[in-house]
C-alpha cells in the first residue's frame, strides 16, 4: 500500500525538480559573465551576457539544449528533442577547461561508445561559438577586439614593447 503512494510522490518530485531547474536558469540569466580562463596572457573578459541575450534572443543558439529551449541543430535534435535534458547551463559544466589532461583523456578513452567523446574543451567552445557567430553577423573577430593582453601576453606575441626592431630581412624577396 505504502509503496504505491511513495512511487508517484518520487516521480512527481523528480518531474518538478527536473522541470524547474532549466526554467529557473532560463528566467534568471546573469547580466555579466567573467571569463578568465586565459588570465596569464590575457586580461579576463567581462562578457556582456545581457546584451547578447537581447541580440540573440534564443538561448539554444549558444546553450544548445540545456536552458529549457530545444536545440537549433537538427543533429542534436535527434536525441535532445525536448529542451529539458540538461540541468547544466554554464559552458564549463560540459566543456572541460582541461580537455587534454591525462585524467580527462582517461575518462573519454574508457567510454569509447559515448556519442559526445569528441566534445570541445571550454576555450575551443567559447571561441568557435563566438567567432562563428561574429563572422556570420559582422561582429568583432580580432583577438584584441575582445581580449586585452597582459604584459606576459605582449612578451609571448613579441608585441607592444616587445616588438622586434624592424629590419629589412623580414620582407621576403
Amino acid at each position: 500500500m505504502k509503496i504505491k503512494i511513495i512511487i508517484p510522490v518520487i516521480i512527481a518530485t523528480f518531474v518538478f525538480v527536473a522541470g524547474l531547474s532549466p526554467l529557473m536558469a532560463a528566467t534568471t540569466p546573469p547580466a555579466q559573465v567573467r571569463i578568465d580562463q586565459l588570465s596569464k596572457d590575457f586580461e579576463p573578459v567581462e562578457f556582456d551576457h545581457a546584451s547578447h541575450v537581447d541580440m540573440v534572443g534564443d538561448c539554444g543558439e549558444c546553450h544548445h539544449h540545456t536552458t529549457g529551449t530545444a536545440s537549433n541543430d537538427p543533429d542534436c535534435m535527434r536525441c535532445h528533442n525536448s529542451g529539458a535534458t540538461g540541468e547544466r547551463v554554464a559552458c564549463r559544466d560540459c566543456h572541460a577547461p582541461d580537455p587534454f589532461s591525462a585524467d580527462h583523456l582517461k575518462t573519454t578513452s574508457e567510454d569509447r561508445k559515448r556519442y559526445h567523446r569528441d566534445l570541445l574543451g571550454l576555450k575551443g567552445a567559447y571561441h568557435r561559438s563566438c567567432t562563428g557567430c561574429h563572422e556570420a553577423s559582422g561582429g568583432p573577430t580580432g583577438c584584441l577586439d575582445c581580449h586585452l593582453r597582459t604584459e606576459a601576453g605582449d612578451a609571448l606575441f613579441r608585441a607592444g614593447k616587445y616588438t622586434p626592431a624592424p629590419t629589412d630581412k623580414a620582407a621576403g624577396h
Binding site: P99, S101, R112, T131, T141, F157, R158, K169, A170
Partner: protein, 317 residues
C-alpha cells in the same frame, strides 16, 4: 619508457633486408606489421577548417622551446604574404619549429591556414637515416633527438619526407639539427599536451591517443561530409604519423604532398643502413666524405634553395 633503440631498429631492418632477398611478399608483411607503431602512442589531430591563422601556436612554441625572437611580432599577419623564390611559403627552421601558412584553395571561399611542424612519423626516416643514433621514437609517439650525439651530417634533413629537420647555423663548430620534439621534455613525458595544442583558441588540434584520434577523425568526416575532404592525412602516409590532418579542401591545395607513399621511408634507406657496420670500420674516410657532401650541399643551397639563401642573408644582415 625508452623508445625504439637504434640497435633494435637496425636488427629489424636487417631482418627486413634479408627478407627482401628471399621474397618481396615477406617484406610487405613486415612493413604492414610495423605500421601501427606503439600501441599507446599519442597523437594530434589537426582540423585545418578550424584554424583562423592567429599564430598563437607559433608564439607558444617560441616561448616553450626558448627560441630566439622572430623578425616580426607573432600577431603580424603580413607574414602570410611572404613568399620566397618559386612561390614557396614560410618553412620551419632552427628558429621556428612550427609555422602557419595561408592558402587560397578554389574549393573554399575562406582562406585555409595550415600549421606545419614535424609529424612524428611511426617509422621516422630521420631516425633510420641517422648513423650515430641521435634520434629516438618514444613510446608516447614523439621523435626526439640528442643534440650531444648529432654530428651535423644532415642525413635526416635529406631523408625526412616533410623537410622538417633544420640545420642550426648558430654554431659553426657544433652545428646540430633542430626540430619540433612534441614538447617531449617539458610536457609530453609528463602527460601534458604540447604548448601549441594548449594555447590554440580554436581547438584546431585535438591531443589524444593516436588510435582514438583516427576514429574521431573518421566520425567527423562522416558527420559533416560537406566540411571535409574524405581523407585523414597521416593515417597511412609514409607508414603513418602521430600528427594527422583533416582538411576542408584538397590536400594538395593546402600545402600537402599528396604523392606520398604509404610505405615507410625505411625501405629507401635500407641499403644505406646495410652499410652501417662497414661505416664503423671506415669511419674517418666516410666522415670526411659526409663533410664534403655537406659543404657541397651548402654551396648548392646558397644558390638553389631559397630558404637557406634567405637564412644566409639573415645572418649577414
Amino acid at each position: 619508457m625508452s623508445g625504439i633503440s637504434r640497435r633494435k631498429f637496425l636488427t629489424c631492418t636487417l631482418v627486413g633486408a634479408g627478407a627482401t632477398a628471399l621474397s618481396l611478399k615477406t617484406t610487405d608483411a613486415f612493413a604492414s606489421a610495423k605500421l601501427e607503431g606503439y600501441p599507446d602512442s599519442m597523437g594530434v589531430l589537426v582540423d585545418l577548417g578550424r584554424c583562423v591563422g592567429c599564430r598563437s601556436c607559433e608564439a607558444a612554441c617560441n616561448r616553450e622551446q626558448h627560441l630566439p625572437a622572430p623578425a616580426q611580432s607573432f600577431d603580424d599577419p603580413s607574414v602570410f604574404d611572404q613568399t620566397f623564390h618559386n612561390g614557396q611559403k614560410r618553412r620551419t627552421d632552427e628558429q621556428a619549429y612550427t609555422v602557419v601558412n595561408r592558402y587560397e584553395p578554389t574549393a573554399t571561399d575562406q582562406p585555409v591556414y595550415r600549421k606545419s611542424q614535424c609529424n612524428h612519423c611511426n617509422e621516422p626516416a630521420c631516425l633510420t637515416s641517422c648513423f650515430v643514433n641521435a634520434y629516438t621514437k618514444t613510446s608516447e609517439g614523439a621523435v626526439i633527438y640528442n643534440p650531444n650525439i648529432c654530428v651535423g651530417c644532415r642525413n635526416c634533413m635529406i631523408a625526412c619526407p616533410f623537410n622538417m629537420p633544420a640545420y642550426s647555423y648558430s654554431s659553426a663548430t657544433n652545428p646540430v639539427i633542430k626540430k619540433c620534439i612534441f614538447c617531449y621534455d617539458t610536457r609530453l613525458k609528463n602527460g601534458l599536451p604540447p604548448a601549441c595544442v594548449e594555447i590554440c583558441p580554436q581547438q584546431v588540434m585535438t591531443f589524444g591517443h593516436r588510435k582514438e584520434l583516427i576514429e574521431i577523425a573518421h566520425e567527423r568526416i562522416k558527420a559533416r561530409p560537406d566540411r571535409y575532404i574524405d581523407h585523414l592525412y597521416g593515417e597511412n602516409e609514409v607508414g603513418g604519423t602521430s600528427w594527422m590532418y583533416l582538411a576542408p579542401a584538397p590536400f594538395e591545395e593546402v600545402g600537402f604532398d599528396t604523392t606520398m607513399n604509404n610505405e615507410p621511408i625505411i625501405s629507401n634507406v635500407k641499403d644505406f643502413l646495410g652499410t652501417v657496420p662497414m661505416v664503423l670500420a671506415i669511419w674517418p674516410a666516410l666522415f670526411t666524405g659526409f663533410h664534403l657532401l655537406a659543404t657541397r650541399k651548402h654551396d648548392i643551397e646558397q644558390h638553389g634553395d631559397d630558404h637557406s639563401a634567405h637564412k644566409e642573408e639573415e645572418k649577414k644582415s
